[in-house]
Assembly symmetry: C2
Homo-oligomer: 234 residues x 2
């Protein structure tokens, strides 16, 4: 969507009509948040927008997305997946732009602190359940990303990409409930399923809580993250 890159003079030329935008999800204090940047020029001046930018002439689309991600979060390797390509004429009032969008998942503990705290006026993390005014069609893009995220965590272990290195089952359970916005998920059944999926291993310690301390777990590196789907229909 051409959120202006502050370009050093040697920046290679980017493609004319193509841009990449990224919906970066993270989980902080029991809230699902996305990374947004504040626009400092027209159109949509002072509104918030997704991090994005042009694609360099010899740069694969995914690498462009990773470059943008690194600029906003300081992180290089993370979960990234193509989402959809938005290309309606008029979505950018200046000119025709085809925007290839991605969605990324990152644990908030991995985000470099200078990228996380809001002391910068121009980059911020916002709850998906209380979004500010958004530029272009970015509200639509985020809604679509949310739908995909919700589907994704139900047939794969993608939610682990949002968790810290070590976590309790309660925290994982909370994460699912926050993402799905469904607080009726049964605790006992959730734990049973996770145990049977055999994707966690106990970490060394315990987390202090109000009551009985909670066992810490980590994601097993050798686990099969994709759950093979059964047939729904017919």
């Amino acid at each position: 969507m051409m959120n202006q890159q502050t370009s050093p003079p040697d920046t290679p030329i980017t493609l004319e009509n193509v841009s990449v935008d990224v919906v970066i999800f993270t989980l902080r204090s029991r809230d699902l948040q996305v990374c947004l940047v504040r626009r400092d020029c027209a159109p949509f001046k002072d509104d918030w927008a997704l991090p994005g930018g042009g694609v360099r002439v010899d740069e694969p689309l995914e690498r462009a997305a990773l470059r943008i991600l690194h600029a906003k979060t300081g992180v290089r390797d993370l979960y990234l997946q193509q989402l959809f390509t938005f290309g309606d004429p008029g979505r950018d009032p200046r000119r025709r732009v085809i925007s290839v969008t991605y969605f990324a998942l990152i644990s908030s503990e991995r985000i470099a602190t200078n990228h996380l705290d809001g002391d910068s006026e121009t980059v911020g993390w916002h709850s998906v359940y209380a979004l500010p005014r958004l530029a272009f069609d970015h509200a639509e893009i985020i809604q679509y990303a949310l739908v995909r995220l919700r589907n994704k965590i139900q047939y794969s272990a993608a939610a682990f990409e949002l968790m810290p290195e070590e976590f309790t089952l309660r925290e994982l359970h909370d994460a699912y409930m926050v993402i799905l916005n469904d607080y009726t998920l049964d605790k006992a059944n959730f734990r049973k399923k996770i145990r049977e999926a055999n994707i966690l291993e106990p970490a060394s310690g315990y987390r202090e809580t109000g009551g009985r301390p909670a066992r810490l777990y980590r994601f097993r590196r050798d686990a099969q993250p994709e759950i093979k789907a059964r047939r729904f229909f017919p």
Copy 2:
């Protein structure tokens, strides 16, 4: 992917680095087929490629896909869904092209006959299980479309888009087996599920077969085509 359009002189200018390619599926004589066009110039001269072309300056992406579809099949309204955007540098040896791909489903009875029969050297229908040599990265695109189609028919009634107006349960069952390439789907259970899904209504007649005649059905217009998904994980 810039399969040359034979352009009338008044054709509007197309976007520089963007193209649209469409994987058009149909079902013919118990085979799943895709529409391909034979390239008549370099690169990949004489290989087969997906129907595709440039995007006009004021044309939405989906409308470009529909225009291409209409040119190859003579049909205007059909099932169309965005698939993926392929944009690696080098996928077209001539220049950088970002290809937004779509997949379409169409009943073979709706394809205008002059578009169906192979008397044209340049457009043809090919079994996905016996594809010819393909230009660019189109083999990869078709494989990906096939994966998506297989997923799709398992949680939605999309397979009906490939069926004729009226059909027997046996024909629908065969369609599923051909698409999934799995001939172990139990007949009794399949029928039971379809019945319970409540998406068919009986048509007037019967189809003559080798044995007992088979009831004809049609898709209920007011049916809920999407099956709400249950949770797999956790």
